[in-house]
C-alpha cells in the first residue's frame, strides 16, 4: 500500500483502526489502485462515505475532498453535489451493505434511475458489523448473528433466486459488478470500468469480518476460516451454482457504460435549452 498510500491517502489515517483480519483494507486498496491505474490525481476525485465499518474507516482517508453522509444518505448528497461539480470530477463512494441495500436503498435505486455519475463501492461484510454484528440484507439464511441467535429467518437480497444487482439493473444502473476482496486485479479492473462509466456504477465487494461475522456465524475468529468460507462460495458469473445456497457470483454483471445520458449532463443540457428558448 505504501506507494498508493503516499500518493493518495492522508498519513494520519494510515493505518486504519480496523480490526485485525478485516478485509476492508483490501477493498479500499483496490479502489485506490483503480484510481491510480486510470491516471487520476487527488484533485480529480471527491470521496464520499456512508455509515458503518466501511464509511467510518474510509472517511477522510483521501488526500483531497471528503464527505460523509448520515446513514444511507450519501447517494442523495452525491446527487446534489453532482449538479454542482464539474463533469470531469469523479465521485467515488465507499459504503457498507446496510447503508446501501438497507437504509439507503431507496436513494440508491433513484440514483440508478437518474443515472447519476458516481461510483459506489459497496464494501459488504454481510451484516451490521460495526454495531457488534446483527444480520443485514446479505446475511446468509440461517446464519447466527447477535440479532439472530437462532439463525436468520428473513429472506435476503442474495439467495432464493434473488440478486440485488437485478433490481439495480432494472432501476437503470449502467455498470454493475461483483467481486470478493480476496480477488485480485480482476476486481481492480471492474472498479476502473465503473469509474470510467459516466453514469451510475456500483461494484459490490464481499469482504471478511473476522471479529463479528465469523465469530458468530462460523464460531471462530481465525481469519483463514472466514477467508476459506468466502472462497468456497465464490463463483464466476456463468458457473453453475448450488441452488438456494449463499453464493458470490463474481464478474461484470452488467455493462451499459456510457449508453444512457448521465443525470447532471441531462439537467445541464435541459437548462441550457430552456435558457436558449427564453432569450
Amino acid at each position: 500500500m505504501d506507494y498508493l498510500a503516499n500518493k493518495y491517502l492522508r498519513p494520519r489515517k494510515i493505518p486504519s483502526t480496523a480490526c485485525s483480519g478485516c478485509g476492508l483494507g483490501q477493498v479500499h486498496k483496490k479502489t485506490v489502485k483503480a484510481i491510480d491505474e486510470l491516471g487520476l490525481g487527488v484533485e480529480d476525485v471527491v470521496w464520499g462515505t456512508g455509515i458503518g465499518c466501511a464509511g467510518r474507516q474510509t472517511f477522510a482517508t483521501w488526500k483531497g475532498d471528503n464527505f460523509a453522509g448520515t446513514h444511507g444518505r450519501v447517494y442523495a448528497i452525491a446527487s446534489g453535489l453532482r449538479i454542482a461539480l464539474p463533469p470531469d470530477k469523479k465521485i467515488i463512494c465507499t459504503v457498507g451493505d446496510g447503508d446501501s441495500f438497507g437504509i439507503g436503498f431507496l436513494n440508491l435505486l433513484h440514483c440508478a434511475r437518474r443515472n447519476v455519475d458516481m461510483t459506489v463501492v459497496v464494501c459488504d461484510n454481510l451484516g451490521y458489523m460495526s454495531t457488534g454484528g446483527q444480520y443485514g440484507w446479505t446475511t446468509p439464511l440461517g446464519v447466527k448473528t447477535d440479532s439472530s441467535p437462532y439463525g436468520t429467518y428473513e429472506s435476503n437480497f442474495m439467495q432464493e433466486g434473488q440478486d440485488v444487482l437485478n433490481i439495480l439493473k432494472d432501476a437503470g444502473a449502467t455498470f454493475l459488478a461483483r467481486h470478493t476482496s480476496l480477488q485480485g486485479q480482476e476486481a481492480v479492473e471492474s472498479i476502473k470500468k465503473a469509474i470510467l462509466n459516466k453514469g451510475f456504477s456500483l461494484v459490490h465487494v464481499i469482504y471478511p469480518c473476522v471479529t463479528n461475522f465469523s465469530d458468530r456465524a462460523l464460531g471462530t475468529r481465525k481469519p483463514i476460516a472466514m477467508y476459506n468460507w468466502i472462497k468456497e462460495r465464490t463463483y464466476g458469473l456463468h458457473d453453475r451454482v448450488p441452488e438456494n445456497e449463499m453464493c458470490f457470483r463474481t464478474g461484470i454483471y452488467h455493462d451499459a457504460s456510457n449508453t444512457r445520458q448521465e443525470f447532471s449532463a441531462r439537467l445541464l443540457e435541459f437548462t441550457r435549452e430552456i435558457q436558449r428558448r427564453a432569450r
Partner: protein
C-alpha cells in the same frame, strides 16, 4: 418597482431567484407545492436546476449536496415534510452548510388538514434535528411582500452564519394573494433594504474553527481544498473524532456563532407600545395581521392595547417582553407554543393569556372580546365549549 397581484409562493420563488438560488430540490406537498412548481419554471430560465426528489428527506439532502458543491440552494415543504428534514437539517447544521428551508405550516398533527393554516412547528423549527448542541435561525413572514424579502434575507443569513435558515410561513402567507412589489433595478433593491452575500470557499486547513465569528466560508467540495465534512463530531480540520473536547469546541461554535451575533438576525415590529399598554398582544405570521387590525380598533375604542410581532422567531427575542403587564398570545394552534416562550420571558407578576385557533384566522371581534375580558379581570371567553387557559 413592478407591482403584481400574486401569492406568497411566487414571492418566495422570486426572492430565492434574486438571492442567487441555483438549485431547488424538494417533494410536492400542499401548501408548498407551488413553490416547487414556480422554481421548476424559473430556475432553468436563470441557469439553475430543479430536482424532484423521491421524498422530502432526499430532497433536502440533494439540495444540501448541491450547496456542498458551492451553489446556493433551497427546499420547501410543509409540516409532514419538515419533520422528514430532521436528518439533512442536522447534517447541514453540523457541517455548517448554507441552505434555505421554507415551511408553509398547515393544520396538524400529522397530515391534518392540508389546505388550511396552522402554526404547529414553532418549536420544531427551533429543534429541527436531534442531538441539541446547536442554535437555529428562523424567520416568519406575515405577508406576501415579506415572504419575498425574508427569503432574500434567509439566503444572506445562511451564507454569513453558514447554516440552514428556516422561513417559517403558514398556508395563508404562501397561498394568500396580495400586492407584491418586485424590484427591477439596483436602486430599488437597495431601497428595499435587501442584503446579499455571495458564496465563498473555505480553503482550510482549519475548516471548523473554534470561534463564534461570522463570515467563515463554508466547506465546498471540488476545489481540492482537502475539505472534509461528515456527520461525526469534527476536529477543527474536519477529521471524525470521539473526543469530548472536540465536541465541546464544535458545539461552542454552533451555539455561539448565533447567540453572540443575534443583532444581525434580530427583526420585530411593534404597535402602540410607547404608553405602557394594559394589554400586549403577541403573534407571528398571518394571525399577526388580524392582531394589528385588532389593536388599531381597540385604540379607536380608547383601550390601551399594544402589540408585538416577532419576525425573527429564533433566536428568541427575550427582551421584547420586558414589561410587567397583561399579555395575550394569539397562535394558529390549540396547544400554545409561542406563549410558552413569552411566559418564560415576562417579568414576575405579569399575566400571560393564550388564544388559539387553527385552520382559520381568528377575527378582530374575537380578539377584542378576549382583550376586554382581560381588562375586566374575567376569564377568556369560551368558544365551542373550548376553554382558553390563562398561562
Amino acid at each position: 418597482m413592478k407591482r403584481y397581484f400574486d401569492t406568497g409562493n411566487r414571492a418566495i420563488t422570486e426572492g430565492a431567484i434574486l438571492a442567487g438560488c441555483k438549485v431547488f430540490a424538494g417533494y410536492p406537498i400542499t401548501p408548498a407545492t407551488e413553490i416547487a412548481e414556480n422554481m421548476s419554471r424559473r430556475l432553468p430560465e436563470v441557469g439553475g436546476y430543479y430536482v424532484q426528489a423521491e421524498d422530502e428527506m432526499t430532497g433536502m439532502h440533494i439540495a444540501v449536496g448541491a450547496s456542498l458543491g458551492g451553489l446556493k440552494t433551497m427546499t420547501a415543504t410543509s409540516g409532514p415534510g419538515y419533520i422528514l428534514y430532521a436528518d439533512p437539517y442536522g447534517w447541514a447544521l453540523g457541517c455548517e452548510i448554507p441552505i434555505v428551508v421554507v415551511n408553509a405550516q398547515r393544520v396538524g398533527p400529522v397530515s391534518g388538514i392540508t389546505g388550511a393554516p396552522g402554526q404547529g412547528e414553532f418549536y420544531i423549527a427551533r429543534y429541527p434535528t436531534h442531538g441539541g448542541n446547536a442554535e437555529t435561525i428562523v424567520l416568519a413572514p406575515n405577508s406576501v411582500q415579506e415572504a419575498f424579502s425574508l427569503t432574500v434575507e434567509a439566503f444572506y443569513l445562511s451564507e454569513r452564519f453558514r447554516m440552514p435558515v428556516t422561513v417559517l410561513a403558514d398556508q395563508l402567507v404562501t397561498d394568500g394573494w396580495e400586492t407584491l412589489e418586485l424590484p427591477e433595478t439596483r436602486e430599488e433593491i437597495e431601497k428595499m433594504g435587501l442584503r446579499f452575500k455571495e458564496r465563498e470557499i473555505c480553503r482550510g486547513p482549519v475548516f471548523y474553527p473554534f470561534t463564534d465569528q461570522l463570515d467563515v466560508p463554508p466547506v465546498v467540495m471540488g476545489h481540492n481544498t482537502g475539505g472534509t465534512c461528515s456527520d461525526w463530531t469534527p476536529t477543527d480540520e474536519g477529521y471524525d473524532t470521539e473526543e469530548v473536547e472536540w465536541a465541546h469546541k464544535h458545539s461552542y461554535r454552533l451555539i455561539n456563532k448565533v447567540r453572540n451575533n443575534k443583532e444581525v438576525i434580530r427583526r420585530y415590529e411593534e404597535h402602540f407600545m410607547d404608553d405602557d399598554p394594559d394589554v400586549v398582544l403577541v403573534a407571528y405570521g398571518s394571525p399577526s395581521r388580524v392582531m394589528i387590525s385588532c389593536v388599531k380598533k381597540a385604540r379607536e375604542e380608547g383601550l390601551k392595547v399594544g402589540c408585538i410581532r416577532p419576525i425573527s422567531l429564533w433566536p428568541f427575542l427575550d427582551d421584547l417582553y420586558h414589561r410587567k403587564t397583561n399579555y395575550l398570545v394569539v397562535e394558529l394552534n390549540y396547544d400554545g407554543q409561542l406563549v410558552r416562550e413569552v411566559q418564560r420571558c415576562v417579568p414576575t407578576g405579569s399575566n400571560v393569556h393564550f388564544f388559539g385557533k387553527c385552520g382559520e384566522l381568528p377575527s378582530v371581534a374575537e380578539m377584542l372580546l378576549q382583550i376586554k375580558q382581560i381588562l375586566n379581570g374575567e376569564p377568556l371567553v369560551r368558544s365551542d365549549n373550548w376553554e382558553w387557559e390563562a398561562w
